[in-house]
């Protein structure tokens, strides 16, 4: 069986070299991978793999707001902040404080109920509000670190201090990806954010599972041939390369690595033809561009990011993580809350709503999990007179699509928005839930490193069953 499949692949490559045409080499490789029990990750790192059980979601788009978006100004209304504005927090703050904050600061913005569900959302996010019946708002998030670096690492990798694989790496490791001509895990992050690449690193997982970083949307993938003339010349060279590699292999024992390397050059060649198309936003209709707001200055950047995310997941990319980062820590309103938070909201509100609308109209929202949030929330108390400090003790994130119950609120903070109180969802629980929706038992998706089995949730994590439809 194994020999047969090796043989057929060899045959395939031989034919592939002679007249490549439209032969779907990679499709065949993927199908072959599916037929085998467990394709070898060292030679076929991206082959599609089955999860532990039937998944609700097949892909994830993580909308990451670096800096820490303010929960009490966006998704977690607190009338007591208004009633007791300017008064001290009536209980002791946790010992772990970054800087001393002052008294209670009510949200300058109004909240109102939306959709059939009547979930309350701030006036800063009118378009997201209109999609609220697709959204599950988790108001009881809890994280452990008060700094951007540690908290962002925890949100993206589960660990605050040391290097661990990111959630996108775990999922591509677990599931492979459905389009062999594109990276399986794509990160779009225009500015350098705190802790940078560690947030999408594969750490001790093979580097194939690392997030592919796109900084410049106009030049998304490194090392693509520049012109069709280059491609034609390259094809001639690749034909010679294949012949020489076959001669080299003939003298050696069956070695899947040599096979894999031959295939990698063919895949690279195809990627050069497919990737530019996938990243080319000009192929979208005017009405789609209008939907995402790519023509407006305020929404152009994140609009293009969201539109790209949809194009990528549509083409089988497993995990897309978008950072709203025109600059580092755009959501870090220590000061200038009244001016800057509306700006950020304006930049993302329409694009995010468009993404949800677009996915839904294409029938993709059912099995695409969209996650929104940052590394923590912000203090209900004031920093200076127009800012809020970092706040991991209770904050909001939301999920939509991918098997999540829309139009619901899960959990709550206390009356002041300080401590997560009811149905607390720790970052580890969120991770366990995302893995669950993707078909994994988070305790069984493991990797042996330095003699120990590691997992995304370390020794923690409970699936939040209540948010699953």
């Amino acid at each position: 069986m194994l020999n047969q499949s090796l043989h057929s692949r060899r045959e395939l490559l031989r034919r592939a070299g002679c007249g490549f045409g439209s032969l779907a080499l990679t499709d065949l490789l993927v199908r072959e991978a599916q037929a085998e029990v467990e394709p070898d990750r060292s030679t076929q790192p991206y082959a599609v793999r089955s999860p532990h059980f039937v998944a609700r979601a097949k892909r994830v788009i993580f909308l990451y707001m670096p800096g820490g978006p303010s929960h009490v100004d966006l998704f977690d209304p607190k009338p007591r902040l208004v009633a007791e504005a300017g008064q001290p927090l009536p209980f002791e703050k946790p010992k772990l404080e970054r800087t001393k904050t002052g008294n209670l600061l009510p949200s300058p913005w109004k909240f109102s109920r939306h959709g059939e569900s009547g979930v309350e959302v701030s006036e800063l996010l009118p378009r997201v509000s209109s999609r609220i019946d697709d959204i599950c708002v988790i108001r009881s998030m809890l994280a452990d670190n008060i700094n951007h670096t540690g908290a962002a690492l925890q949100m993206c990798t589960g660990e605050q201090a040391f290097s661990r694989p990111s959630i996108g790496s775990w999922l591509t490791y677990g599931l492979g990806t459905e389009n062999q001509n594109l990276p399986g895990f794509v990160v779009v992050c225009p500015a350098a954010v705190f802790q940078g690449a560690q947030l999408w690193a594969s750490s001790f997982l093979p580097s194939a599972y690392q997030g592919t970083l796109i900084r410049d949307l106009n030049k998304p993938i490194a090392n693509l041939a520049d012109s069709s003339g280059d491609l034609a010349r390259q094809r001639t060279k690749l034909d010679a390369l294949r012949q020489l590699n076959e001669l080299h292999k003939r003298e050696r024992a069956i070695d899947s690595q040599l096979e894999a390397r031959i295939a990698s050059f063919e895949l690279a060649f195809r990627m050069q033809r497919e990737a530019p198309e996938a990243f080319d936003l000009t192929r979208e209709s005017t009405s789609t561009h209008k939907l995402y707001g790519t023509g407006e200055a305020a929404t152009e950047l994140f609009g293009r990011q969201c539109l790209l995310a949809r194009r990528l997941v549509e083409r089988g990319v497993r995990f897309v993580q978008l950072f709203d980062a025109p600059v580092n820590n755009a959501w870090d309103q220590h000061a200038g809350l009244r001016e800057n938070l509306p700006k950020r909201c304006q930049a993302v509100d329409q694009p995010i709503a468009a993404l949800l609308t677009d996915l839904k109209s294409r029938g993709m929202l059912d099995d695409t999990l969209v996650v929104w949030g940052g590394e923590f929330g912000r203090t209900p108390t004031a920093e200076g007179n127009n800012g809020r400090e970092h706040h991991p003790f209770g904050f909001t994130m939301w999920m939509a699509g991918g098997g999540v119950r829309g139009g619901m609120v899960h959990g709550a903070t206390d009356e002041y928005g300080w401590h997560a109180q009811d149905n607390i969802v720790h970052v580890h629980d969120l991770h366990a839930t995302i893995l669950h929706l993707m078909g994994f038992d988070h305790e069984r998706l493991t990797y042996r490193h330095s003699g120990r089995d590691y997992r995304l949730t370390d020794v923690y994590g409970n699936v939040v069953k209540e948010v699953i439809a």
């Binding site: 970054r98 700094n147 580097s207 690392q210 001639t236 390369l241 024992a253």
Partner: protein, 786 residues
């Protein structure tokens, strides 16, 4: 198992106390009793009770042990504290609730009352009948005393005689007898010797990370003397390229990085690793000089405490070597400074454990080791040594960066003198500025100005050079931290500095270094630690390094988990060979070069990688080493080999790393930046510098092919190869193709290969030769070594 109805549960809950509101009964119902114990109760007992009630640790206050099921069943002075099923009747519950009469546990000095949630969990546990999965004998960490005594890697290195083998003609040295004995027992046959061309290519890449030159291959092919192999090894081991190659192996283990930030403009000096390169250069020199490995270890753990061998006041190599401890990854963390310090301590313990001992000591940070005989107490006994040393000069303000400790590599008097010189220059400059402020401004030839300028120039001339600095660790705790001096530290409950338990005296891990250790009376204790780790009596150290060297030669170690020789590691395939090598290594004065020679002159190393398929099928993982495993070159070797055959490689030694991989220096000198994962080296599986890397992954992905096909760097090397050959063999096309093969692959081409080459040259027209060079640089043969 009896399952009570939810109603019963609620009934029981209400009857005890309102605390059960915290513990949601529905969640409890869903949980299996054993799992409930493992998740909720066992960690609680370990963290909060076993400090004083553990038979394994020899502390059973009140005669009570809570670390085994038998312990609490038997009970202590007041009988059994648990009446299964009846929380109200259980002394344990009364004690943790801090009842008015009777004991209050845990006492204030051991961290005080449990949280409401923890108390609720204990009540629920007793109510369920106190299910307890701990049936095994008392353990030290993860092993019973017997297991720990018998564990292979914890026993002294055995002196073993090489076994007798049937086929006496094959072995070239003792290594081969160990290997052959296993093959004979399994009825496996070894491979035939590799072709000499293959051997010299293998050996040259292995020792220098570069291909052999056609001249070296030719010389070796025509050397029919018995010393031909030795001569090649001597030449390679004497070359500086050897240290440049093997330093990189060690840097993987040492989680080395040149910088945090890849962008030179964004590097903030106070926390950046601007002097890390001195450590890298010291490692290169240590390999090239064959510094005995025990000294290599001592320098890295306690080099700042070593006397200068030349009697000088300052011992630069000692200070520089401790960059091993200071070049870790930790949150730059702007607020929680104490956590940074505890993470640094943890990084040091974890890295030393893995790198030198093959022990995952770091696992005992939050609790006793789950698998190996290492207690949290042992961990904090070591932690005291690192809390009593400092990596940071200053913690920095809340919201600010910390400052890495930088130590001048010249005597204090020189630093002082230079300080005075700078002060005087500043004084003269101030006078000059003063002069300029006068109105009217004195002219350029004003005598006062002329005199001041002359004075300044003179001072400038005599100014001593800026003292070189090393990122060194030094004695004494972190100023402004929780533990600012040399001191013992308390156990951190669950690894958190915010919950401290009893203080543990600084000492070495008890299971390994014994109960009767002399107390550490002066200094941090790093010196004692270094001596113990680098001792020939330590059962782990020599085995661990010998195994690493084996792995770097063969691709796999005799133990295939080189950072973990504990229970979760893999057992050695050839335990006797490992011990024999370790014993000889110590006898040879911990000489790595002797070890290289021994391994590479063996028939085992000289085997061919090409064997019939059925031989591969008999041992697919090549555990029994009946052939050589072909290997893909590492990121550094691929790049260096490209530059080398292009005739462009700059083999200069040392100095700060270059920022861009398109420079022509060896890859060792291209920066590794922790915050950049998009580098060329990472694309080809370079080590992740965040923690000790025991073995690199080998991945094969399309972006690697794209890089080799389209990046200007690889295209430039193809051009350089073509130009070089055009220059070396201007006329004859076939001769030039042949020379290309000799240069790139160390062999002549076959006629079929010549045909293919001719086609590429013809089709490419003006770019034909560049195309051919490019194709060959991309070929499997260029990056795979047989």
């Amino acid at each position: 198992m009896i399952r009570r109805s939810t109603l019963d549960r609620r009934g029981a809950a209400v009857s005890i106390a309102i605390v059960l509101f915290v513990y949601a009964p529905l969640t409890a119902a869903a949980e299996d009793d054993a799992e409930f114990f493992e998740k909720q109760i066992r960690p609680l007992l370990v963290d909060r009770c076993e400090i004083c009630h553990s038979a394994a640790k020899g502390k059973t206050n009140g005669g009570l042990a809570l670390d085994t099921r038998e312990g609490w069943r038997k009970g202590g002075d007041s009988g059994s504290p648990i009446t299964p099923g009846q929380p109200e009747a259980s002394l344990l519950i009364q004690a943790v609730q801090y009842g008015d009469d009777g004991p209050q546990m845990p006492p204030q000095e051991k961290g005080g009352k449990l949280s409401e949630k923890e108390i609720a969990a204990l009540i629920e546990w007793v109510r369920r009948g106190a299910p307890d999965t701990r049936t095994a004998a008392a353990k030290i960490g993860g092993m019973t005393a017997d297991e720990a005594r018998d564990w292979w890697s914890f026993q002294s290195v055995q002196s073993v005689e090489p076994p007798v083998v049937q086929d006496a003609s094959w072995p070239k040295n003792e290594i081969d007898r160990f290997v052959l004995a296993e093959l004979e027992e399994r009825k496996l046959s070894h491979a035939s010797p590799a072709d000499r061309r293959i051997w010299i290519r293998r050996a040259t890449f292995d020792l220098t990370g570069l291909p052999p030159t056609p001249e070296h291959v030719a010389a070796f092919m025509s050397d029919s003397s018995t010393e031909a192999f030795e001569r090649v090894l001597d030449r390679l081991l004497d070359s500086t390229a050897y240290g440049q190659r093997w330093a990189r192996h060690w840097l993987d283990v040492a989680r080395y990085a040149d910088y945090h930030d890849a962008n030179p403009k964004a590097r903030q000096a106070s926390c950046e690793l601007t002097e890390a390169w001195r450590y890298r250069d010291w490692v290169v020199d240590a390999f090239n000089d064959d510094l005995p490995f025990d000294q290599f270890i001592e320098h890295q753990i306690a080099g700042d405490l070593l006397p200068s061998p030349t009697g000088d006041e300052v011992y630069p190599a000692g200070l520089i070597a401790t960059t091993f401890l200071t070049n870790g990854v930790w949150d730059r963390g702007d607020a929680d400074k104490e956590k940074i310090v505890s993470d640094m301590v943890d990084d040091n313990i974890d890295t030393i454990g893995k790198a030198f001992l093959g022990l995952t000591l770091g696992c005992a940070r939050c609790h006793d080791h789950k698998f190996d005989p290492i207690l949290a107490e042992d961990y904090y006994a070591l932690a005291g040594m690192f809390y009593s040393s400092h990596i940071l000069a200053a913690l920095g303000t809340k919201g600010g960066e910390y400052t890495v400790n930088r130590v001048p590599l010249v005597p204090a008097a020189v630093v002082e003198k230079r300080g005075e010189q700078v002060t005087r220059i500043n004084e003269v400059n101030a006078k000059l500025a003063e002069l300029d402020k006068q109105t009217p401004k004195p002219s350029d030839d004003d005598p006062r100005r002329v005199q001041l300028i002359a004075q300044r120039d003179q001072l400038q001339e005599a100014l001593l050079p800026e003292p070189p600095l090393a990122m060194a660790v030094q004695e004494g705790g972190t100023a402004g931290g929780l533990f600012p001096k040399i001191q013992d530290v308390p156990i951190h409950i669950r690894g958190s500095y915010a919950r401290l338990g009893p203080v543990v005296p600084r000492r070495l891990p008890r299971r390994f270094a014994g109960d009767d250790q002399p107390p550490i009376t002066s200094g941090s204790g790093r010196r004692e630690l270094a001596d113990w780790v680098a001792s020939s009596d330590n059962p782990l150290t020599a085995r661990v390094i010998v195994n690493r060297i084996w792995q770097w030669h063969f691709g796999d170690g005799l133990v295939r988990t080189p950072n973990n020789f504990g229970k979760l590691g893999m057992a050695p395939t050839h335990p006797k060979l490992l011990d024999w090598l370790a014993a000889r290594f110590i006898e040879d004065g911990w000489s790595l070069k002797t070890l290289h020679r021994r391994i590479m002159l063996s028939a085992t190393y000289q085997q061919s990688s090409r064997v019939p398929p059925q031989q591969v099928e008999q041992d697919p993982g090549n555990e029994w080493i009946a052939r050589f495993s072909p290997r893909r070159l590492e990121a550094e070797a691929i790049r260096d080999a490209m530059l080398f055959v292009a005739g462009k490689l700059d083999s200069a030694m040392g100095g700060p790393a270059g920022d861009d991989f398109t420079i022509t220096r060896r890859s060792l000198y291209v920066q590794t930046a922790r915050w950049n994962r998009s580098s060329y080296a990472m694309l080809f599986d370079a080590a992740n510098p965040d923690s000790s890397t025991e073995r690199r992954n080998v991945s094969t992905v399309a972006p690697q092919a794209l890089m080799l096909l389209n990046h200007p760097f690889s295209q430039a090397q193809a051009r350089h190869v073509a130009e070089r050959l055009q220059h070396e063999v201007p006329e004859n096309e076939t001769a030039r193709i042949e020379q290309t093969y000799h240069l790139l692959f160390g062999r002549p081409p076959t006629s079929k290969e010549i045909d293919i080459a001719r086609q590429v040259i013809a089709q490419g027209a003006a770019t034909g030769w560049v195309d051919l060079a490019h194709v060959l640089l991309c070929s499997n043969e260029f990056v795979y070594v047989d």
